[in-house]
Amino acid sequence: MREYELVAGLETHVELSTKTKIFCGCTTAFGSEPNTHCCPICIGLPGTMPKLNRQAVRYAIMAGLATNCEINPIAKMDRKNYVYPDLPKAYQISQYDRPLCSNGYIQLQNGRKIRILRIHIEEDAGKLVHERGDTYVDYNRGGVPLIEIVTEPDIRSIDEAIEYVEKLQLIMRYIGVSDVKMQEGSLRCDVNISVRPKGAEQLGIRAEIKNMNSFAFMQKAMQYEFERQTDLLESGEQVVQETRRYNTDTGETEPMRGKEDAHDYRYFREPDLVTIETAPQEVEQIKAALPELPDAKFARYTEAYGLSETDANILIKYRRVAEFFDAAAKLVQTPKTVSNLIITQIFRRLSTEEQKEAFEIVVTPQTLAELIALRESGKINNNLLKSTLEQMLDTGKPVAALIDEKDLGGVDEATLREICRQVVAENPAAVQDYRGGKEAAFKALIGGVMKATRGKANALQATEILKSLL
């Protein structure tokens, strides 16, 4: 059997988190009672006209700039006509041949660039709700602004596809234009996938798999589709160009509609809206206001701060974590300590992805930096650093409330000798074990000293004293 190569291009819909809808003043809030976020405009009552929300344009331009796109100074809106009950005007206002952004890319870890053909803005449709044996329509989501990000067929594996979407998600979170939650539908993916013999120049015939709403399904659907198309080609058959859906029950992709039902969207210019003009100065202003993006952060963390690629990746994966790290790292001499404490100690308390994403902790970058400064100046040791951080994470108290002046002075030799004596006296069993040759028993005694000194004893000194006593 010949070897086959997967070729994929992605169309990703991202819901923009503007306060109001794209063509009216209704809120975009998610999860309210059906049809409560509606007005004459977004339910398309006769005679109403759309009014473009400039914030949606701004967000789309941010997304374009963050994915290395050109921003087109003149863009226009078009009508995409199709009949479906969730589309109250029987057309979606979208962009056809003059999108807002074009010719960008997202770079993957392996260095490959996935080219972005275009990013356009459009309105979301409502939702059908099937209940009590009947079908209802909820138009709350109708008119929520979307951007559609379309790539060239540059993706060559399922892993690349997933990495691309994760990276896109990350960028959108960084620039704050969307919460990009796949399960809530604020990020949805259509995958165009074809297969060709390895080394072939020409692209194979593609199938489009609609509406991937989780990475797991996306992985499975692409795997299934790759195998299906490979089998077809191997048995000398043709792949049919069609739209398919992934059936989560069977684990297979299946055709959504036949060729004879293919939509003819009859695109034409939306006559109710004027041309969208974007001045170069406006683009410059938006560009200047963009936050540092994941790629730039990664470069800075590994090069300037000397973090390992693994650690740098963990930090940039969560926008709030990276922001926290940046704030604290600026205040200390050893940013690596900040990174270590976040990744080992703080993350232990945040087990789920959502918790890491939210990064809700009571310690501030300033107090963490104060604590690290004490360690850097040698006033406390690692043990005290860690135990104090635990207390800070528990209580939210400042460093000063947890470490007093005498703690900072360390433990003088006389006091330490006295404490060691007490520990030996109180642990006769461990003493006996140690004297009997069990080295491990010594750890218990050192532990006792540390506990009594709340970790501030110099371990080396304590070991010497203990050994002399034994």
């Binding site: 004459p40 009552l45 006769p46 009859r266 034409f268 809206l273």
Partner: protein, 486 residues
Amino acid sequence: MKPVSKIKRLHAQMTAGELSCRELTQRYIDAIGRENGELNAYVLQTAQTALDTADAVDAKLRAGQPISMLEGIPMTLKDNISTDGIATTCCSKILQGYTPIYDATVWQTLKHENAVLLGKTNMDEFAMGSSCETSFYGAAGNPHHPDHVPGGSSGGVAAAVAANIAVYGLGSDTGGSIRQPASFCGVVGLKPTYGAVSRYGLIAYASSLDQIGPITASVEDAALVFDAISGKDEMDSTCTGARETTADQLTGEIRGLKIGVAKEYFDGIRQPTVKDALQKALQHFQSLGAQIVPFDLPILKYALPVYYILACAEASSNLGRYDGIRYGYRTAHYNGTHDMICKTRSEGFGAEVQRRILLGTYVLSSGYYDAYYKKAQNLRGTIVGAFHNAFTGCDVILAPTVPMTAFEKGFTAQDAVETYLTDICTVPVNIAGLPAVSIPCGADENGLPIGMQLIGNSFCEAVILNAAYSYEQTADAFIACDRGVR
């Protein structure tokens, strides 16, 4: 007959205390009661609302408060202009039972001025037609000759104004729907520059061509109403508002005005009396000191196909929303959503509307798009350019409004294409987005009014209205109609 501003006269009578607004309103309500059976101009009467508004105006008058020019004047709206709480159906079965929950911007403005709404007037279904015969409520009649049509699509407004069962009304003009019925009924109809008056709340036929405008009994009234309803509107992105007010610029002085005349506009005239009336009007303008500038407009022969392609394309999209799901008519028996939508639309739309939806869907569909829609768009650009060029040599263009006078009822039903051809003189203006006013210029052998239009450059309403005013005040070409309020 030399028309005077009815609005100004009634305003003066009310402020002088000679006439209460309630009395005035009651006269109009009574006249509608007498005339509407024959004319079918009104499809919905709002007498109670009208009287309530009249009482509010009278209260202000009694309190010695000033009232604005349009305050308390009884008027009407075409049935495609949305009125909060008052049914707005586009005279279509498919919008039976639909009552808007918001006001069109033009109505919001007039309502704020205490305009007295007498009711909604008849029209061709969804403004598609030139005879008012495709209305779900039945045809309207021409007040000058009820066996003839009042024209369309704003036929109800024109008939109501001509029969004096409304002082003025607002219509909409997509391919002539204000000017053509104004011409047929012997009244004044102004189609403003695209973008001068807000379209928000006007139920769309063809969005890039539609424009709301006044139908009145005199040029000055048209200017007063235009000044009131024009203006920038946040709700309509394509509306920039008028550049200047017009009523204060009606001097009647047109010496040196260059009137462009293109032969192509006159070629299609079907009645000698219409041709004669136009010739006489030109001579009259010359006698007033205007200069006639002949020019060629060969592109005019493409105007009709361009219009019907673009208008139908946009209509096919604009009318997609009438599916019986959210409002309006829904078929009684159906099997599933798809069946419900198909049956609702087949039963709810009349033949002419269905014809235009099909035509529009066809010209936009892949495979035909380039041959029709795209070509029409390109030609639209050429037509815009040709007019732009024409206005480098003249100030206004004079043309017949319709190549004929009001046709007999039933003419339209015989041949759709033949009827489309009668739109030849009105559609170019919509394609180019220009302002044009139709005014009466005599009558044919049957006493039916003849109309001519004066076309202006973009946002030059003041120029065409002043030219119209100078003619109206001196030519004695208005045809009296002895009906309605006396």
